[in-house]
Amino acid sequence: MTTLPDDNDLYFIDFPGRIKKIQTAMQEEDLDVYLGSRLRTLSWTLDAFCPWRSFVVIPAEGLPTAFTFVIDAARVADDSWLDEDHVYGFAPMGGQDQIEQISDFILDLLNNGKGRVGVETGMSNYLPEGNLTHYEYEQFDAALANAELVNAHTIVDRLSMIKDPGTINRFREASRIVDIGHQAVFDALQNGGYKDISETEIAGIAALAMRKAGSEWEWSFTGGNEIASGYRTGLAGGACTPATRRKIQPGEPLMVDLHAMFKLGLGDHAHNYLIAPASDRQWWHANNFIDIVKQTLKTYRAGITPSSLAEEMIGFAEQRGFADYMVPGFEHGIGLMGDEWRIGLNDGPFAYWTNPDHVYRENELLICAMQYACPEENIGFRYENPIILSKTGCEALSAYPLAIEEIK
């Protein structure tokens, strides 16, 4: 059933209002039509998860229309706030392939085929980003021969940067669910429960608990729930560890990075353990890590920049003698499903990477993400938690207690 926005709902997002804001920005940039293709744009405008190649066409006025692979179109219409007249399915049939179907639709919106059409191109480290491919661009360019295609993704990037209460509440609920996953993992590991358990099994224990609590899926493209044990926790610079069949061993570190999704809001929290017996040296590393996480969370607030925070934190690590083990990045961007890469806008010294001098603003949401890795000692830790910035500090949405427990 199509979900109509209900402003009494804790998770209410004004999707028609978002479309109107895009249309206002289109007018300012002299665009007649906006053709969105990035996963972040689809989530942000449709309120539906679009796992297959999908597009949204936003006219100068009125409702947008979504286009997706025909096998999933009815489900997208069911989940979205749009009705079935505004969700089309495409398939390899005459007039129904994505290029012809969408370009015909856009031509009907243009004046004699003329006008400016905003598209989304660029690059990303995030594979499912969804920029137009070279082939798609060429085909749309040929089919809309009298129109001009203009890269316009900044419109959505700018409008989606500051989070509204409904979005924040969706992230808050996803984080609550992740905490339930962490509790289930802890319960399973303690009192010798870790013996003969593999990383994949831990990922599954957490997944079951989170699904029971309402998570839609373990959303991360990095392999769902990321679990690393032993030497895998300390891979140099490593912050991506899909679970393997490796068994958990005594005397080793264990990193558990869980992902839950609630109404396209994303939970993402990493917690760390030492499997007994833990050595003094392991505890030295563990305490370093906990201290720098606390320091980082204390420092985050609107008004600072990624580079100023990194300098301050690396300075702290240098002073304490563990700077060699810190990966010098303390965040990654986050938004509704599909928005998982850079912070802020595409305005830094390296195209499509975080601008190190981006000045954080109130109600920006990001993942506080830190990686500690000591490959020569086969030990490392990860911290991730969605945080909301305020003028004076930040709120960590996952409330699972910050600690590194020794599991016996």
Binding site: A73, Y88, G89, M93, G94, G95, D104
Partner: protein, 133 residues
Amino acid sequence: MSELVDYLSSQWREEAEKRLKSELSPEKMNKITSSMSNIYLNCPDGSQKYLLFRFENGELTELSIGQGQPPKAEFQITGNYEIFARISRAELGSQKALMTRKLKLKGNMVKALKLAAIADRLNKVLSTIPTRY
């Protein structure tokens, strides 16, 4: 009726209307409200023709044939006259014609999928008209 009538002629249209109304009850048409126009390119006389079907609550309310651009319809199927003729003679399936780009469908395919069986029923009735192509 045993005499052949010319495809898309006024006699053919009258016969088609009669057969559709008598053989396809509103229930058989799932009480749909929709419209579809077939656009025939490269007709034998060189013209472009259309055949428009309009249903309301499953009842055929309009079956019209004309020249040039058709009135607005929920679905529009475009192809060469010969392709439509081959489909009517059951020499070519409509789905295959779409999948090989011999026909072009304009309209919401998710809705069209729901109507695919109904379109088959409709074509089946039309294929029984003794027709000269």
